[in-house]
């Protein structure tokens, strides 16, 4: 019953998306001065809102099916198990292809409904075009769900027990990683709809940028958290001790983030200065394109990846068709319309806008580099040459643009809009640029480390100081929330950069075969293998080592790495154990039994590695603060406007325009 209800709600939502698109097209073809609510175009907003409710109902139905482990539903039977802890039963809802697509569609419908409900600033026609674009994109995904990935399909005969969930995915990190990434991807779909809407009506204005900005900020914050969580999950769950592998699936989440970061900054320029109009629209299209290309690469199995969980070429063809329609369509529309979007305001190179353009160019270049590296194996495979592209390409080539971008990031926020004088910022700029040089030389001489981590550490100091400069000489309590957001996000970049560089430069790795009672040394840690014993969990058995670790002769801490065997489905995983200090982590992995009563242990001392994720969290926090600041500012303005209108209609003489 619940499954049928969910499916019916999904079909109804799809039908409403069709209605929404139809009404929007009629509204746009019709006369330009159609007042909202007049004629069929008035159906656009209600359709979006009801569609959102139906999608929420449909997703709620699927959640309930998973919570109850209804084994007559194919998706539940193949992805869940009655013995699983409740949190992982719920996480299994989106830990598979069909459920995650339903989540995608639901979030998209909810954002569409939210825009329809609250957004009143844009011209009516742009609004209708935006919601029409949203419905058009939505329809493709509804078709995908209903025709090729129905999450509610029943089994002819209920099975006795579910097949479980990939044990690597039975982890608290997974409960949050995909949904946050999806919120990010889908938030970018809203930016995409706004961009297409503005292109259709040729209304690319600062107001448009202000309307789009909260969505970009929100999407970007979610992407940041999603990538950070995913990186940490891969770090401790896969047991490889690394936090970024340049794997296609990771790149698939990084590329939309890079585009969204560029979009965020160019939208700020458009909102504040009415410049970079066409460029902002272009980035709006590119950011969502990257989300879709990412989804395509992950789901189609076209690239070989270490963690592709839901691979199916047929679905790949479907997503490719959607990709062609939306991205191709938007690009063609952009090419046709770009020269009718009037050029925006001009500005000098030495200005806030100038610095932001440099940031945009660098981010786009890095995006291009990552895209090329990700697709290169695909390209050569067409000529039957197998290659694998990894860190030796991405790190140095990306650094060509990344390092200068960091320098601009340190100085840029100090610059004024439109035109600044070099004399005004000369001393701070020289200080910020000289600092990394001095640090690099100092560190390079005193410690023997590689060039890239060396530059990274030196630059992180500059960025950290530079990020705080906008607060200089201001009353901290009167600094707007959005500025705090920028400061914190930029400071987070410095923190993450320092963590990445320090871990790369100073990491100490040891692989030993230790007897019980034996003590080994890894960097400042001395680690004793105390015992190895079997343990059992709800759906796995494991051998667990007890390690006694002491940092530099300090107090002894226990650490328990495990080698786990899941029995539903059967699979072996290693559960690493971490000891966290403020200045890094000791990462231990238990391997198999070696000959002569020895146990394989892999030990890493990773100085400051946690700063990578602290930085990521700070960046996302900055985004969230900026979002709150912008939205509350908008609300204040709206209330003030409402009061104005009230007074005017009441004939308040004070508000009467003297002219």
């Amino acid at each position: 019953m619940i499954a049928e209800l969910g499916l019916a709600a999904l079909w109804l939502a799809a039908a409403l998306a069709g209605l929404q698109l139809f009404a929007a097209v009629i509204g746009l073809i019709g006369k330009g001065d159609d007042a909202e609510g007049a004629g069929i175009a008035g159906l656009v907003r209600p359709a979006a809102i009801v569609q959102a409710l139906l999608c929420a109902l449909s997703f709620g139905a699927l959640l309930l099916l998973f919570a109850r482990t209804d084994l007559s539903v194919l998706l539940v039977a193949t992805n869940s198990h009655s013995m699983k802890p409740m949190i992982f039963k719920l996480a299994a809802t989106w830990g598979n292809h069909e459920g995650s697509m339903l989540l995608w569609v639901s979030v998209m419908a909810l954002s569409g409904g939210l825009i329809a409900l609250v957004e009143r600033r844009l011209p009516v026609r742009t609004m209708i075009a935006t919601l029409g674009a949203q419905a058009f994109v939505g329809l493709g995904f509804y078709a995908f769900l209903l025709f090729s990935s129905n999450p509610f399909a029943r089994l002819a005969e209920p099975v006795a027990e579910g097949q479980g969930l990939n044990p690597l995915l039975q982890d608290i990190g997974l409960a949050f990683h995909p949904p946050t990434l999806y919120f990010g991807y889908v938030g970018l779909s809203v930016a995409f709809s706004f961009a297409v809407g503005a292109l259709l009506t040729r209304q690319v204005t600062p107001e448009f940028a202000r309307v789009m900005r909260p969505w970009v900020l929100g999407a970007w914050s979610f992407l940041t958290i999603g990538i950070t969580a995913g990186s940490y999950w891969a770090y401790y769950e896969l047991g490889w001790g690394g936090w970024w592998f340049w794997d296609p699936v990771e790149n698939a989440s990084l590329m939309p983030w890079l585009a969204a970061t560029a979009l965020l900054h160019s939208a700020s320029v458009l909102a504040a200065r009415d410049a970079l109009r066409a460029w902002t629209i272009m980035l709006g299209v590119v950011a969502f394109s990257m989300s879709m290309i990412g989804t395509f690469l992950v789901r189609s199995g076209i690239l070989t990846s270490v963690h592709a969980f839901a691979v199916d070429p047929e679905r790949g063809s479907f997503i490719l068709a959607l990709l062609t329609i939306y991205i191709g369509g938007a690009l063609v529309l952009f090419a046709l319309r770009a020269n009718t979007v009037a050029e925006g305001e001009r500005f000098s190179i030495l200005s806030r806008e100038g610095a932001l353009v440099v940031n945009n160019v660098a981010l786009s270049a890095i995006l291009g580099i990552v895209l090329l590296g990700t697709l290169y194996p695909l390209l050569t495979e067409a000529f039957d040459v197998r290659v694998s592209v990894g860190p030796p390409y991405f790190n140095p080539v990306g650094a060509i643009f990344f390092l200068p971008m960091m320098l601009v990031l340190a100085v840029g926020p100090m610059l004024r809009w439109r035109n600044d004088r070099l004399e005004r910022i000369r001393w701070s700029a020289i200080g910020l640029l000289a600092l990394p040089v001095a640090l690099a030389i100092g560190l390079g001489i005193s410690l023997k480390i590689d060039l890239l981590p060396l530059l990274g550490m030196a630059l992180s100091a500059s960025v950290a100081i530079g990020s705080l400069m906008p607060l200089r000489g201001r009353a901290l309590r009167r600094v707007p929330l959005a500025t705090w957001g920028m400061v914190i996000a930029h400071f987070g970049v410095a923190v993450a950069l320092f963590g990445m560089s320090a871990d790369t430069a100073f990491q100490k790795e040891r692989l030993v075969a230790a007897r019980v009672g034996e003590t080994v040394q890894d960097g400042p840690w001395s680690i004793t293998l105390k015992s190895v014993e079997p343990v059992a969990g709800p759906n796995w058995t494991a051998i667990r080592a007890t390690l006694l670790a002491s940092y530099d002769g300090g107090p002894v801490q226990e650490s328990h790495p495990q080698a786990r065997s899941f029995w539903a489905p059967p699979q072996d995983t290693s559960e690493s154990a971490l000891l966290t200090r403020w200045n890094g982590q000791l990462y231990t992995v238990l391997g198999g039994e070696a000959e002569g009563d020895r146990w394989q242990l892999r030990l890493w001392w990773k100085p400051f590695v946690t700063w990578v994720w602290y930085g990521g969290v700070l960046i996302a926090l900055g985004g969230a603060l900026a979002l709150i600041g912008r939205v509350s500012g908008d609300l204040k303005r709206r209330r003030a406007q409402a009061r104005n209108i009230e007074r005017r209609s009441a004939g308040d003489p004070l508000m009467e325009n003297p002219a």
Binding site: I302, L320, A338, L375, L378, E381, R386
Partner: protein, 178 residues
């Protein structure tokens, strides 16, 4: 403005090519098999002592007698090797000449293993320190190589041989003959 338009249509064209490439790749069967780098290379020089009393040892010269052979890398302590014994017997019945390399093993264990699961091998060399195994690019047991009459490696099968792999191995042997 005209130049901007040209650039934009260029972008559209590049994206179209990209999607074309995606479609082309999707339409091709996915081939995830990484072909061994040893294919086409001659067997390295080695001379292994016999592993068991009733079969001679194995040297590079033995693989250059003009007749293609299957070289099976196995060990008595390896469970999948026991599982594939049936398949090796079937291959032998189909006329394949099979020689073995026993990895890090004791003569009495190998003898017991052959006693229990059958002995399809004409020769068995003892590779006590994985020396030959490593030099022919084998990372584990069991693995099976097709070597032609001149001692050139033609094909590598990683993991145990399943019933469905037999036709392919026989075909590779025939190919190696020509």
């Amino acid at each position: 403005m005209k130049r901007l338009r040209l650039v934009l249509w260029g972008v559209v064209a590049v994206v179209a090519c990209l999607f074309g490439l995606f479609a082309f790749q999707l339409s091709r069967p996915k081939d995830d098999v990484v072909v061994s780098a040893m294919i086409g290379k001659p067997m390295p020089q080695f001379d292994l002592k016999p592993s068991v009393a009733d079969r001679p040892g194995l040297s590079t010269r033995d693989l250059m007698d003009g007749k293609p052979k299957l070289v099976n890398v196995f060990a008595s302590w390896c469970v999948p090797c026991a599982a594939e014994a049936e398949q090796l017997a079937a291959l032998e019945q189909n006329g394949a000449v099979i020689v073995g390399i026993a990895i890090r093993d004791r003569p009495q264990d190998v003898a017991a293993f052959l006693q229990a699961y059958g002995n399809p091998f004409t020769r068995i060399g003892a590779d006590d320190i994985s020396e030959v195994q490593l030099s022919i690019g084998s990372s584990g047991v069991p693995e099976t190589f097709v070597v032609d009459g001149k001692g050139i490696i033609r094909y590598q099968h990683i993991g145990d041989i399943r019933a469905e792999n037999i036709p392919q191995l026989l075909q590779e042997l025939r190919k190696a003959e020509s």
